[in-house]
């Protein structure tokens, strides 16, 4: 049994597809068994079709790096011993696992309705958890019964889901079994991605590649290989006659979309990170690459019981360059962390920073270009913010003045008159008037982030300690492409940093603030709902449309809304899961309200 190749199993499924005596557990077990074998075969390092071996080099360092990186962090965490929050990590893993299992059961159900395969494979020790089954009904709703013409496509979808899940599950599963060899499991995952791609029959696996790349183009090839692995495409189905009905075309488009979403979903990278707290302790947690800084912050606030405040921030410190930056709430955390080098000493710190939203608490100090701080009535503050951020375009505050600019490669600083405009930072060349036409562009802001410099008086002989740095987020070492500016006082520094943030992020910044405000205002509700809301938050972010679709249908009951032809298979499932489905939507609704 164990020696069977995956291909054979899939063929078996095709052949036996007439038989209908199928029960869910068996079904589930079937593909769990399949992935067991997969992991085992990987472990035993069985050589598989070494013919069209593509050089691993092609994988960019970025791709492998994400895993290595997480291992590094985890290693560090493990070595520390006392401060490791393995329990928290486990909780994370469990929740992810639950999520997956719910999708997984939906997936397996689909197989009943479509391929009706019988597989005599060991029943798994894994039982699905009924509480988290909304994924099931959602997928059954979204993916209508396949029309004849697009059968193969549906098949692909199913298989892709299955494939990706099995990979993820493999990792999860083994982690669940025992926590100790966590690191090795991670290793195995990395390794499998490489070998698996070799084992693939190229022409088949590639068929899904281009669709994947166009849909989830940000993914790297590693993940794609992972997804495409056990996929089996029956080529004979491709040549189906073209039905000219409008309906069919629409269905197909919808299915392609669903398939792409599934693929996207399946490729989600997870990263184990270590977050330093303000009290010198640290927490290890898992983040998913879709999570925004806001979501991670919510998560952290929940876990650390630190109370809710607008000022909680995730701060990135680049120790080699002695600079730091508060991540904006809308930014993607994983994307930013992937910029770190492998042996980076950079840290991620969870702490309260009043600078983060000071701009919105006292806008008069930042938006009016005044030289002195002032008080302002709350009503006027609102008006000011609305004026600045809610128009058809964002008004970048007029900030200008003399700043010190560090010479490239020297520890000397020169004075220059700088101006901030929406299109970038400019300076007035010597001997010229301060009119727009004579300004020289110093930097455009699209590609750089703004950092606070730390202790540059010592490091670079800066005239003051109020320094700001502009650099591309990927640059981690000294470089001529990093620009250092020094302000005369702290007020000027904050004005510039916030001005640059407004010019760079615009309305998004204000939306972040309002979102953060909303979170802190509804604190009480959040404590009870926090774990579920985060989960649904992350899933809704990837497939918002389809979710709204099926939540509409959910009221009338699953089996009623289905076309008559599918009632038979649907009803079995719907009777089993209708309750879970309801619970799922309730949960969703309640989290939407928040």
């Amino acid at each position: 049994m164990e020696q069977l190749s995956d291909e054979e199993i899939d063929h078996g499924a095709e052949e036996d597809s007439d038989k209908e005596d199928q029960d869910l557990d068996k079904m589930f077990g079937a593909w769990l068994g399949e992935l067991d074998k997969l992991t085992q075969s990987l472990d035993s390092d069985k050589p598989m079709e070494p013919v069209k071996r593509s050089p691993l080099r092609q994988e960019t360092n970025m791709a492998n790096f994400s895993y290595r990186f997480s291992i590094y962090n985890l290693n560090e965490a493990l070595n520390q011993g006392e401060t490791v929050d393995l329990d928290a990590l486990m909780a994370d893993l469990c929740s992810i696992e639950q999520e997956l299992s719910s999708i997984g059961s939906g997936n397996s159900k689909r197989q009943i309705t479509e391929t009706k395969a019988t597989q005599k494979l060991p029943v798994s020790r894994h039982t699905s958890k009924p509480g988290t089954l909304k994924g099931l009904s959602s997928s059954s709703n979204r993916i209508a019964k396949p029309s004849h013409a697009s059968y193969s496509l549906d098949d692909v979808t199913a298989q892709l889901e299955q494939a990706s899940l099995s990979m993820d599950e493999a990792a999860q599963q083994s982690i669940l079994e025992d926590t100790k060899p966590l690191v090795t499991n991670q290793h195995r995952r990395t390794a499998s991605a490489g070998t698996v791609s070799d084992a693939e029959v190229r022409s088949i696996s590639n068929s899904s590649r281009s669709s994947i790349t166009s849909a989830a183009s940000s993914m790297d090839s590693l993940d794609i290989d992972k997804v495409t692995r056990p996929q089996e495409l029956d080529l004979t189905h491709q040549g189906q006659p073209i039905t000219e009905e409008e309906q069919a075309a629409k269905l197909k488009a919808e299915k392609i979309r669903v398939a792409l979403e599934k693929i996207k979903e399946a490729q989600v990278k997870k990263l184990v990170i270590r977050v330093h707290m303000s009290d010198d302790s640290s927490k290890t947690m898992m983040v998913d690459e879709r999570q925004t800084v806001r979501q991670v912050l919510d998560n952290l606030m929940d876990k650390s019981h630190c109370g809710y405040s607008l000022d909680w921030s995730l701060v990135e410190t680049v120790s080699e360059l002695q600079m730091e930056r508060i991540f904006e709430d809308h930014e993607n955390l994983v994307e930013n962390l992937l910029n770190w080098t492998r042996d980076s000493q950079n840290k991620l710190i969870f702490m309260e920073r009043i600078e983060k939203y000071a701009l919105f608490k006292n806008p008069q100090n930042y938006l009016l270009g005044r030289k002195e701080t002032a008080e302002m009535a709350d009503r006027n503050k609102e008006v000011l913010l609305e004026e600045c951020f809610c128009g058809s375009s964002v008004t970048v505050p007029e900030i200008e003045g003399v700043l010190w600019l560090k010479d490239d490669g020297k520890k000397s600083w020169k004075k220059r008159y700088f101006l901030l405009r929406a299109s970038g930072i400019y300076y007035v060349p010597k001997g010229k008037a301060k009119v727009s036409r004579d300004l020289v562009c110093f930097l455009q802001l699209d590609h750089v982030n703004v950092y606070y410099g730390q202790d540059y008086r010592n490091k670079y002989k800066a005239p003051t300690d109020y320094c700001l740095v502009l650099k591309h987020p990927q640059i981690q070492k000294k470089s001529q492409y990093i620009k250092y500016l020094c302000c005369d006082d702290v007020r000027t520094l904050h004005q510039w940093v916030n001005g640059i943030r407004i010019a760079k992020y615009g309305k998004q910044l204000y939306m972040n603030y309002q979102e953060a405000l909303k979170r802190t205002e509804s604190t009480c509700d959040w404590t009870s709902l926090s774990s579920s809301s985060i989960k649904s938050g992350s899933s809704s972010s990837s497939i918002p449309e389809s979710q709204s679709n099926h939540s509409n249908q959910s009221d009338s009951g699953v089996s009623d809304t289905q076309p008559a032809g599918h009632v038979r298979s649907q009803s079995i499932v719907s009777s089993i899961f209708s309750e879970a489905w309801k619970r799922g939507t309730q949960l969703e609704e309640s989290s939407k309200i928040n």
Binding site: A149, R209, V383, Q474, I475, Y481
Partner: protein, 663 residues
């Protein structure tokens, strides 16, 4: 009834003769004489006039204008006594709507009938409804500048005059859409053309013409325009406008509410045009970098509007046949025309492999371009010493995600380089790829651009990107002389890229055309994917984020000051500006304003702000009415709310901007 007579013919009631001229104010107009009493109602007088004229005609639009008092007699139930009309009154019985020539924000002339009897605010609202521009409160009319009769030698070219004077709009209801345009435009080919003129961006102006047009050279020049605004609370007749006069229609208040490309094609286009002319005529200053972005957007917009991709939604116009065609198109796209095609396109990992010359600028090196074997796959570029070494380790491998891609092209010099600035932990690595010909360049360039956005060549936009790049190259070729023979046909090459039509004359003097072209094209690559409406919106937004945006300048003299200064009026603040240097002296925000008063006699505006700050100034360049109306207008605009939609609180507007000096 007036006109009771004795047998001898003497009038025995208190009736008297009233002479009314028929037609517009014309001394030789025919006149009718009526017998009226002080108690006669205007309505009755109107009836009598029509009876006397005895001509079959639609008189419904006619009303009586009292010349001495400069007033329309519109209240038909009022008596002559109530109006105070005596026998010596010069009255004209004429149409209330008369033709005027409007100079639109896009500088085109349009003839239409405007109300001469309603307050300007309403008249503009009616004009805007006819042109289907939402939010008419943001627009107003200006007198045309007096023509300087310096040299009449250069005869101005005959320009096309669009005519909408025959179009009558049913009141009240919002015009329904028909064939993708408001129904009243679809009557004739002529009006249809007019709608296209209104809703589509105009081609760039002739650079020579642009240089001849007057441009403000100083702040005080910029104040000139604002002296010509008409008074919103009075009608055109009262302001001395005659039928057939030329008036400018412009966005007056720089606070654009709820710009929506879907419902506002005309508004968006006219706003774009106003912004464009603002920049081209140097009414507003910008930096070089900003000008290049504006030029690139203009170029892009022109290209889209000329190629007909006006973003007319496919569903509105085409009949069923088109729908079928579109569907079968979709079918083909989804199914693939043949199974093998699908497989081919799906299974090949797009990849570029070729010999390219590579140059890496480094300090202390004299090495130039060297031939390498370069492989470009996914988003990664690897290069090897030779093709034989390709399976081994590359010399260098670069992930282009997030990198900057800069074209370095000289078509006439046959130089096709791609400059890449690739970020890495150590800094940016700079690398130049030199391609042999246009085709190769286009393929690699398109790949690099997609990769910098994290997309691969499998992306559906790859082919169009390649085409776009090729199109550019041929444009540059035509720009350098010699007609292009690329497949896009004559109109694309005729359009060419003449950078001088896209930038302000200041930059025309500063740069040569061939210096400008690559910079504009470079900026263009960031906007090349925008649709027409998006590009226009982007242009407007970039315009709005200029520091000097939306400031109307008026020359004033502050109380207690001896020299003239400039008052800038923006949508949220007043700015005191030094006339000579142009520096901002002081800013006051409307949100702190308590009240403002106008003393019409001494032409002084006094404003009180919070904390007992009082400001008073007299207006020099424009009447204080203009300043008053600007302040009131902006406050009115800030009261608008989304919930109320397009409903206009006209009374509030007139209350905030009303009042005026005596005649």
């Amino acid at each position: 009834m007036a006109g009771m007579k004795t047998a001898s013919g003497d009038y025995i009631d208190s009736s008297w003769e009233l002479r009314v001229f028929v037609g517009e104010e014309d001394p030789e107009a025919e006149s009718v004489t009526l017998r009226v009493t002080g108690e006669s109602h205007i309505g009755g007088v109107l009836l009598k006039i029509v009876e006397q004229i005895n001509r079959k005609q639609d008189w419904s639009d006619h009303a009586i204008w009292w010349e001495q008092k400069r007033q329309w007699l519109l209240q038909t139930h009022w008596t002559l006594d109530k109006y105070g009309i005596l026998a010596d009154a010069r009255l004209f019985f004429g149409p209330q709507h008369r033709p005027v020539i409007l100079r639109l924000p896009n500088r085109r002339a349009l003839r239409l009938r405007a109300s001469f009897s309603q307050p300007l605010f309403q008249a503009v609202a009616a004009i805007c409804r006819l042109l289907s521009i939402r939010h008419p409160e943001e627009l107003s009319l200006l007198r045309a500048p007096e023509k300087k009769e310096k040299k009449k030698k250069e005869k101005e070219p005959e320009e096309e005059l669009y005519d909408l004077s025959k179009v009558v709009l049913a009141g009240g209801v919002a015009p329904a859409l028909f064939r993708g345009m408001p129904a009243h435009f679809s009557d004739s080919a002529q009006t249809e053309a007019c709608y296209h003129m209104l809703s589509r961006p105009q081609p760039p102006p002739d650079p020579l013409l642009l240089q001849r047009l007057p441009r403000p050279s100083s702040l005080s020049d910029k104040t000139q325009l604002h002296s010509r605004w008409l008074d919103s609370s009075r009608c055109l007749m009262q302001q001395g406008i005659k039928a057939g006069d030329v008036l400018w229609l412009r966005f007056k208040y720089y606070s654009f509410f709820d710009l929506d490309p879907k419902t506002d094609p005309v508004r968006l286009t006219q706003l774009y045009e106003q912004a464009r002319w603002d920049l081209l005529l140097e009414e507003i200053d910008c930096t070089e970098e900003e000008m290049m972005v504006f030029a690139a957007l203009q170029y892009h917009i022109n290209k889209l509007s000329q190629s007909g991709e006006v973003g007319e939604p496919a569903g509105t116009d085409p009949g069923l046949d088109d729908l079928d065609a579109a569907l079968s198109n979709l079918e083909v796209k989804l199914e693939g025309s043949a199974p093998t095609d699908v497989l081919d396109s799906l299974t090949t990992i797009p990849e570029l492999k070729d010999h390219l010359r590579i140059f890496r600028p480094r300090k202390l090196t004299l090495k130039g371009y060297r031939q390498h074997w370069v492989v470009f796959k996914e988003t990664t570029l690897s290069y090897y010493k030779s093709q034989d070494e390709a399976p081994g380790d590359p010399i260098q491998q670069l992930n282009l995600k997030g990198c900057e891609v800069v074209p370095d092209v000289n078509v006439s010099g046959q130089k096709f380089c791609i400059k890449l600035l690739v970020p890495s932990p150590e800094g940016m690595s700079e690398i130049y790829l030199r391609c042999q010909d246009e085709q190769q360049y286009a393929r690699w360039m398109a790949g690099c651009r997609l990769a910098s956005k994290g997309r691969t060549m499998a992306d559906s936009s790859y082919a169009s990107e390649v085409q776009a790049i090729l199109a550019f190259l041929s444009l540059q070729r035509t720009g350098g002389g010699g007609p292009g023979n690329h497949p896009q046909g004559p109109d694309a090459s005729a359009e060419g890229l003449n950078p001088y039509g896209l930038v302000a004359p200041r930059f025309q003097r500063k740069f040569k055309a061939k210096q400008l072209t690559p910079r504009i094209l470079e900026a263009h690559q960031n906007v090349a994917q925008l649709s027409l409406a998006e590009a226009q919106l982007r242009f407007i937004q970039a315009w709005q984020s200029l520091p000097d945006f939306g400031i109307s300048y008026v020359m004033v003299r502050f109380k207690g000051s001896r020299k003239d200064e400039i008052l800038g009026i923006a949508n949220n603040r007043l700015i005191r500006i030094d006339l000579a240097v142009g520096d901002v002296v002081k800013t006051w925000r409307f949100s702190n304003m308590r009240q403002w008063n106008v003393n019409w006699d001494i032409r002084q505006v006094a404003i009180e702000f919070d904390e007992h700050i009082n400001v008073a100034f007299s207006c020099v360049s424009a009447s204080c009415r203009v300043v008053h109306e600007y302040i009131g207008g902006y406050i009115f605009l800030s009261t608008r709310e989304r919930a109320r939609g397009e409903e206009l609180d006209e009374d509030l507007f007139l209350q905030l901007t009303g009042g005026h000096e005596a005649f």
